[in-house]
Symmetry: C2
Subunit: 459 residues, 2 copies
């Protein structure tokens, strides 16, 4: 089956593909907020209907949380599983959006056309690049060039609680020759990237309780311990003056960068001044003496994602708060053990709590870092196919984010996973005004069409 | 004019006095929240109407903020000004209240009857003790035993922005022989107290800005500075390991306790274990080596009243926040200079901000500590009158709270101020489930009737 007419069809069908994506984007499938449960369900239904109309055997599959979507089509050629997620991040602070996050539109910007809205880049827009590539193959040739399983999740932004049990229970159905995951980005604006290392993620919410109720800071201030002060000490103690995380054993399993990878990354000529300048910063804030790319790709971190205590409204209230809270997460690399780090974190915090205060912990996910083996021939095939589509040759890169599913495919289904995505650094995922470049969407669809073709030719 | 029938009248009229207080409590006059502006106005109207009905020349007096209420009655005898405030604290977190904070009711508790609701103790219930004492005098004798001016404010819980200008513009009308202020508490459950020292209050809200927008902690974590981490360091650095505030010059003007006062306070046999145990704590958390009573009455403090950053909702959002905020206040003593401390605070914070982050400051009030001279004969008269009413003799004590009006009376109107109140430590002012003991209300009214009588007899 020839590739050229498929690429032509993709070009001609782009306005319709954008309209379909807009339909999916209008469904506010925020998985972390129970108020949007019905919308998550609706997004799954939308995907099932769209895939069924294309000829996939598609079904919505219940889980204790939000449903999975699984669809099968094709039959000849290699067996490929494609993964994406249809859930999106919350949208607060809403007032910082320039438009309704769930009324996506194509906008002209100085850098070209973009689709603006929550989920455009993370991950509905990316997910649909593969779906549209399949649609074009079917439209032109009446069938797919490979045996394809689609696997869409609705809990990626809330820690994927149902994913591992679902994979275990449906291992036979989901196992393919290789997994393709589209939830990452280009390197820069024009270099396609295949991720070969991902950071893991460990989340903890802590609540420190001092007095049994909010107190008047005049009546009690000086005599009663203030839990906000304890929390500040706990957080401040998590890093030393060199930016290193202070937990005992934290750096166990953190590998030094190999000489080859260091050279390859240096060749990428990462411009940290431009990268940070885009978000109003200038100074790499990680461990002293590390390359900026190491700070985001291959070094572990500890971040405060949220904290709150006392009176946070307008005006002033001289309260001595009863409780102080923080959501803290760690990005992990190499063979760092999430559970050992959780234990070390809890011990260090517990040791800093005054005897008459208390602390409680709520876990929020614990996934180890992922390291891809690139020996499967699909890696080379995809690298060449991507290099044909984009201005620059494709690169093997790292990723600071956490996509634990890559490790699950390996551990549970014994499949290698190939992470290819078309997001850009300025997509503002997880932030107000998220967008996806129209060129990412368009060339993303073409990239998958080429990759499927390359894998089929080789097979 | 004899005292005994006035006390009898107070006893007989108690149910009606409670009903009147409930009417005033039902008006949600939260001064710090603009949504309740009309309610503050309504509370002032209610007071004017009640006082006018008793024969006071009462008026609501406009200010740029909430109105003052000024009322005059009597003529013979000493000229006494009584101050209270009709505004109340916000009620959040509302879900921790056992009942509607603005539907006050008398409740039976193991410790006796209480009136439960926002403002019962701070300060509507206390304010009404004096009004009811006046009502009883007029009811029994047809007139007051002194020349009385009532002065009620509606902005005490929001920093009293209009108070000083109003006092300056109406100095002649407001100047009396002595000021009485009812916004404090008993010492323990049965010892009436006259406050002779009050802590000052300095408030600052700080906002630390790192990235220009919220970021994905995977994409940027490790490279981009997290302002919540900066804020934690700033707050943690405000105290040293001995609980002392670290700002340079902070302890300038902080006096050591005199031998007499130290002995008098030791005589009070303050039970810090019981005081802290009441709120679930056990360990005095202030400066090492200080008496617990010093920690709350005569030592300065620094407290976090509120802090917030990033995602604070349900679930987890791996955001690297753009901003981190805190509301921080200092209780001041002796001759500590609020403006010098504000400057030292801002310098210390500014020095801890990374070069590519920024900090902004919003001031929230700055009042010096107050030290009463007790040479005016009214102090001894009130002390004796209070000792007649209560089980224990009255004591001169300190107060950890800040009632800057006492200093204003001295500085602007050259009047001594006598602070007498009937609140209890467990009144939960500024907290959910605020209450005022019915016995505080009842014996408070009787106390003022006695004090007016004592001052008149002496005059």
């Amino acid at each position: 089956m020839s590739l050229a007419p498929v690429l032509d069809r993709i070009d001609a069908d782009l306005p319709q593909a954008v309209a379909r994506l807009q339909e999916l984007l209008r469904i506010p499938s925020i998985s972390t907020d129970p108020a949007y449960q019905a919308d998550c369900d609706l997004a799954a239904d939308w995907l099932v209907a769209d895939l069924a109309a294309m000829g996939f055997a598609a079904s919505k599959r219940p889980t204790p949380g939000h449903p999975m979507v699984v669809a099968h089509a094709g039959g000849d050629g290699p067996h490929v599983l494609f993964y994406g997620h249809y859930d999106v991040q919350p949208v607060d602070p809403l007032h910082l959006w320039d438009r309704d996050p769930f009324d996506p539109q194509v906008e002209d910007t100085p850098k070209g056309k973009v689709i603006r809205g929550r989920g455009t880049s993370d991950d509905k827009g990316q997910l649909m690049t593969f779906v549209e590539a399949c649609r074009a193959w079917i439209a032109v040739h009446g069938s797919l060039p490979a045996n394809i399983t689609l696997f869409f999740e609705g809990e990626e932004e809330s820690g994927s609680p149902s994913l591992v049990p679902f994979m275990q229970e449906n291992a036979k159905e989901l196992t393919a020759d290789i997994a393709l995951i589209c939830d990452t980005g280009l390197y820069g604006d024009a270099t396609p990237a295949i991720i070969t290392q991902l950071r893991g993620l460990l989340g903890e919410e802590i609540t420190i309780t001092g007095p049994s109720k909010d107190l008047h800071s005049g009546m009690y201030g000086g005599l009663a311990m203030n839990p906000a002060r304890v929390l500040a000490r706990v957080i401040a103690a998590l890093h030393d003056a060199d930016g290193r995380v202070t937990l005992p054993g934290f750096y166990d399993g953190v590998p030094e960068l190999s000489n080859e990878l260091a050279a390859a990354w240096d060749d990428l000529r990462f411009d940290e001044t431009a990268f940070l300048g885009e978000v109003g910063l200038a100074i790499p804030a990680g461990e002293k003496g590390r390359r900026p790319l190491e700070m985001i790709w291959s070094r572990p971190t500890c971040e405060v994602n949220g904290m709150w205590s006392g009176y946070t409204g307008d005006g002033f209230k001289t309260v001595l708060p009863s409780q102080a809270h923080a959501k803290i997460s760690f990005r992990l690399v190499g063979t760092q053990d999430p559970l050992a780090i959780r234990a070390a974190f809890r011990r260090q915090v517990q040791d800093m709590i005054p005897a008459d205060c208390s602390v409680s912990f709520a876990p929020h996910g614990a996934s180890a870092a992922g390291q891809m083996t690139t020996t499967h021939p699909a890696f080379d095939q995809a690298r060449k196919a991507l290099s044909d589509e984009w201005p620059h040759a494709a690169a093997y890169v790292g990723c600071g984010g956490s996509i634990p599913i890559a490790a699950y495919f390996k551990d549970i289904l014994q499949m290698d996973a190939m992470l290819i995505g078309f997001g850009k650094d300025d997509d503002q995922i997880h932030s107000p005004n998220e967008k996806y470049d129209l060129s990412s969407f368009h060339k993303g669809i073409r990239s998958w069409a080429r990759i499927l073709h390359a894998m089929t030719q080789a097979a």
